[in-house]
């Protein structure tokens, strides 16, 4: 007697020939490439061509018309716009995004360590945060309107509103400076070694990110779980005499995957922006802090590269999340 009540949304058979999926992926990828192309023009136009170009930025107040002209020549700024844009774009695509204006190092060298650092932070916070959010969300929904649900929902509503840097600073006050003095207040990890070799430095940034992302995912999971729990097939499962944990694991969990994937995707997107401020608070050498430093010193090649990197990441996550949602929702990929 193991009729699967959830078959209506989890049948895999009808979708063997998953053309809708492939065409969706192709279409969205093409759209994504076009979007990024326009983004690249925008970024290039903004950073390179507006008054105060790279040459000005490097020379600052010491610029004289002669030195300015010489440096513009050296940086290729006197060539036609199209030529400049093309050499920048082709460099970007062939792994040669230019050199930092500040110390002359290739951009790749400047940012590669930072990318690893930020990625590590995102992945750890993302995995732990998702686990907490999904379990707490399902638990709250299954005990709807009881004490746990009320406390966790109200906590989520409050915490979700807080700015990242306020969360970070309050955590520093509590754990580093005022109450307990057990964790370092800044996380300037050694650029030579990978972040996981300096775990105490990572605790506060990771906790900050988790606190920032869990409430949103929690609310999403709770909302879809409630919806699922009210569906007919869950009622039938109850009547059949399945225990509540069994219902949650076997019938509810598979059906909240699409919405959860979407929530995780949106959370990663949010993190791409939120991590900037958190890295600055903790002086953590990641992509965000690198961008802020580059903006402060007007290091245009680094700004261009990091902004393009974040935009590409954004577009890719968007497509990936939608794709994963479709994969997890057979009904949708068939009816298309």
């Amino acid at each position: 007697m193991t009729t699967h009540m959830s078959t209506q949304t989890v049948t895999p058979t009808a979708s063997r020939r998953s053309h809708p999926l492939r065409s969706m992926l192709l279409k969205r990828s093409a759209q994504g490439v076009v979007t990024l192309l326009v983004v690249s023009m925008l970024v290039f136009w903004a950073t390179q061509l507006l008054p105060g170009n790279a040459a000005n930025a490097v020379l600052g107040k010491s610029a004289t018309p002669a030195t300015l002209a010489a440096l513009e020549e050296h940086l290729g700024l006197s060539k036609p716009v199209i030529v400049q844009y093309w050499s920048w774009l082709s460099g970007l695509l062939t792994g040669n995004p230019g050199s930092s204006l500040i110390n002359g190092d290739p951009v790749g060298v400047v940012v590669s360590g930072r990318i690893l650092n930020s990625a590590f932070l995102l992945v750890v916070a993302g995995v732990i945060g998702t686990a907490i959010a999904v379990s707490a969300g399902m638990l709250a929904a299954s005990r709807r309107d009881r004490a746990f649900d009320h406390t966790s929902s109200i906590t989520a509503l409050v915490v979700t509103a807080l700015p990242e840097f306020v969360v970070a600073v309050v955590l520093i006050l509590i754990f580093s400076t005022q109450v307990f003095k057990i964790l370092p207040a800044t996380s300037p990890i050694n650029p030579g070694s990978p972040p996981w070799q300096q775990p105490t430095l990572l605790v506060l940034p990771i906790i900050t990110l988790i606190i920032v992302i869990v409430p949103y995912m929690f609310r999403m999971v709770r909302a879809v779980t409630i919806e699922t729990l009210e569906s007919d097939y869950v009622q039938t499962a109850r009547l059949k005499g399945l225990s509540e944990p069994e219902i949650l694991l076997r019938h509810v969990l598979p059906n909240i995957v699409p919405a959860s994937v979407q929530a995780v995707g949106l959370t990663i997107l949010y993190l791409a922006g939120g991590v900037v401020v958190v890295e600055v608070v903790f002086n953590y050498p990641g992509v965000g802090q690198g961008l802020v430093q580059a903006v402060a010193t007007r290091d245009i090649p680094v700004i261009q590269f990091l902004v393009m990197l974040l935009a590409a990441f954004y577009v890719a996550v968007n497509i990936g999340a939608d794709f994963a949602t479709l994969v997890a929702t057979p009904k949708r990929r068939v009816t298309r």
């Binding site: 979007t35 990024l36 326009v38 983004v39 925008l42 903004a46 950073t47 507006l50 105060g52 509503l157 409050v158 979700t160 509103a161 807080l162 700015p163 990242e164 840097f165 306020v166 600073v169 006050l173 005022q178 949103y216 609310r219 709770r222 909302a223 409630i226 919806e227 699409p258 919405a259 979407q262 995707g265 949106l266 959370t267 997107l269 949010y270 922006g273 939120g274 900037v276 401020v277 600055v280 608070v281 961008l291 802020v292 580059a294 903006v295 402060a296 245009i300 700004i303 902004v307 974040l310 935009a311 954004y314 577009v315 968007n318 999340a321 939608d322 949602t325 479709l326 009904k331 949708r332």
Partner: protein, 310 residues
Amino acid sequence: MTVAVLEAPVVHHARRSELAYLLATAARSRRGALGLGLTLLVVVIAIIGPFVAPHSPTEFVTSPFAPPSPGVLLGGDSLGRDVLSRVLSGGWQLLLVAAAATALGVTVGAVAGIAAAYLSGWRDSAIMRVSDVILAFPQLVFALLMVSVVGPNVVLLVLAVGFSHAPQVARVLRATALDVSERDFVKAVQITGVKPTKVMRLEILPNLVSPLMVEIGLRMAYSIVIIAGLSFIGFGLQPPSPNWGSMINENRIGVTLNSWGTTVPCLLLAVLCVGLNTFTDAVARAALGTDRADRLLLTEALGESEGVTA
């Protein structure tokens, strides 16, 4: 297609009072009253603060990070200025810029979203592709990029934050406006040959009051977070005039000597954001009922992407 679509609530009352009705219902709920109270508390501090501040916010009255003393009730900040006076004077600019950015973002987004939904076809695609481009930047990064080009200034801040809101507002309102444009009363007016701009303004817009209210509340909260965050990292509102975001950053190095310069701005920002979000939540509940409001806020919260709801 993607957002839990808001239908206008059954109208028992004249259209114009829908706004008043929503706000009143929200404010009467426990959640809404609390949210409104917290928001107003901070707003009142920000508005009357500059007039009751004991010192000028830029005057040096004590030594850096001096502990509280009579006359300097919350002690000194990183340069020896009066923390209390800076707290009292540090809110209005933030609120004003956030309000301007919100107004710009919601207006542009609403016009674009409604136009996309009603005009449909290539104009719809064009509007949505443009918003895709802006959506490819995290909001803070978009602002940082603009700041890196022009340098920090208030007008730029409003433009950068406002325009980064617009595509998300546009998506939400487009989804709702699509639903409204399909209704008979819109079709009926359309047949009589009324100009599209007039149909959008007089027939569609009035039916979008509740999603607009929710958007304004959410966007205002985000504006505050982004502008305070940009100020915190040094690219938003510029010194020497105080604002709560910059204050937290300036004063946190001396937090063991005088913590008030850090904790009080943190508290005010937190109360303001929590208040605004809670009130917005209450407005959404008044418009939709609890469950659908939850769902809607969630999909809207980060500017939903295609294919959210199964």
